[in-house]
C-alpha cells in the first residue's frame, strides 16, 4: 500500500517523465506485467516491451501532458487524474483524458487506463468542428498518427 501523497505524485510523475521524453525513465514506473489501456476500449497493451513501443511512439509524436488535480482511493492503490494531452506531430491533436492507475505492493503501476473519446479530441488550433466533420477529422488524424509510427521523423 502506498500513502495518498505517493499515489498522487505517481500520477503527476508519469506526465513529467513523458514531457522529459526519456522512454526508460517512463518505463521505470511500470511493472513487467503492466496492463495499459490507451484508450480504454482498444485492446490493452500487456507487458513492458509492448508498452515501450507505445511510449516511444508518443514521444516521437512530441507528446506533452498537463495533469490536473489528482484524487485517490481508500485502498492505497488507485489514483485518478484529469489530464490534457497534446501531441504536436504529425498533426496537433489535443485530448482531454482521465487517467486511472493502480499500484502494486512494489510501488509500481500494474494497471493504467486512459479514458478518452473521439468527442474528447480536438484537431489543431482552428475553430471547433462539430458532428460528422469533427468525427472524420479526428479519425483521419489518428490514422495519420498510426501511419507515422516507427517512421524516422513523423512531421
Amino acid at each position: 500500500m502506498a500513502d495518498e501523497a505517493t499515489l498522487k505524485k505517481m500520477a503527476v510523475e508519469y506526465a513529467r517523465r513523458m514531457n522529459a521524453g526519456d522512454v526508460d525513465d517512463v518505463l521505470a514506473l511500470f511493472s513487467d506485467d503492466i496492463v495499459f489501456e490507451d484508450p480504454v476500449g482498444a485492446p490493452p497493451l500487456i507487458g513492458k516491451e509492448a508498452l515501450r513501443e507505445h511510449i516511444a511512439w508518443s514521444i516521437e509524436c512530441r507528446v506533452h501532458e498537463t495533469p490536473g488535480r489528482p484524487v485517490t482511493s481508500m485502498d492505497g492503490r488507485r489514483a485518478a487524474v484529469p489530464t490534457t494531452v497534446t501531441v504536436y506531430a504529425p498533426t496537433k491533436l489535443t485530448f482531454s483524458i482521465i487517467g486511472v492507475i493502480e499500484l502494486g505492493d512494489d510501488g509500481l503501476v500494474h494497471h493504467a487506463q486512459a479514458f478518452w473519446g473521439i468527442t474528447d479530441t480536438k484537431v489543431g488550433d482552428g475553430p471547433e468542428l462539430t458532428g460528422v466533420a469533427h468525427f472524420m477529422a479526428v479519425t483521419q488524424n489518428l490514422a495519420r498518427m498510426v501511419q507515422a509510427k516507427g517512421s524516422p521523423s513523423p512531421m
Binding site: T72, S73, G76, R78, S96
Partner: protein, 144 residues
C-alpha cells in the same frame, strides 16, 4: 453501446438530479442489478435499496456538485467526470469520521465538507447505469 455524447449527458444529468435532491429521478437512471463503491477501496455495495439510502443521505446533507468536463471511454459504456462538491457535515460526516476519513468538527450542525472526486459510471442497455465508482481519499475531503 451508448454514444459518447449521450453518456456525457447522462453523467451531467446525474449531477443535476443529485443537486436537486431528486432521489426518485436518480434511481430511474439505474439498472436493477446496480453496484456502487463510494469511495473506491471501501467495499462494493449492490442493489437499489442501498443506493437509495446512499443518495438520501447525500440529499439530506444538501450536496452541491460542480462537475468539470466529462470524458468518455471508447468501449461504448464508460463515462467519467471530475467533481468538486460541498455538503453539510450531517448526516454523513460522522460515519466518515468513525472510519478515520475525516476529523469531526467542533460544531457539526454548521460544518460543511468540501470534496474532490472523480466519478466513473458504466452504463448498459437502455442507457441505465450498472456501476458507479467514486475515487477519493482522505486527502480529497476536508472541512475548511
Amino acid at each position: 453501446m451508448i454514444d459518447e455524447r449521450s453518456r456525457k449527458k447522462l453523467i451531467l444529468e446525474h449531477s443535476r438530479r443529485l443537486n436537486a435532491a431528486d432521489v426518485d429521478g436518480l434511481l430511474e437512471m439505474y439498472a436493477d442489478e446496480v453496484t456502487f463503491e463510494d469511495p473506491v477501496g471501501s467495499g462494493q455495495q449492490s442493489g437499489r435499496d442501498a443506493l437509495r439510502a446512499h443518495f438520501e443521505e447525500l440529499a439530506a446533507a444538501g450536496i452541491a456538485e460542480v462537475p468539470g468536463e466529462p470524458v468518455a471511454g471508447q468501449d461504448g459504456v464508460h463515462v467519467l467526470v471530475p467533481v468538486t462538491a460541498t455538503m453539510g457535515y450531517l448526516p454523513k460526516g460522522p460515519g466518515f469520521a468513525d472510519r478515520g476519513w475525516l476529523t469531526a468538527p467542533d460544531a457539526p450542525e454548521d460544518a460543511r465538507i468540501t470534496w474532490d472526486y472523480v466519478l466513473l459510471v458504466r452504463a448498459g442497455a437502455g442507457g441505465l447505469i450498472q456501476e458507479l465508482q467514486k475515487f477519493w481519499g482522505r486527502s480529497d475531503i476536508g472541512i475548511p
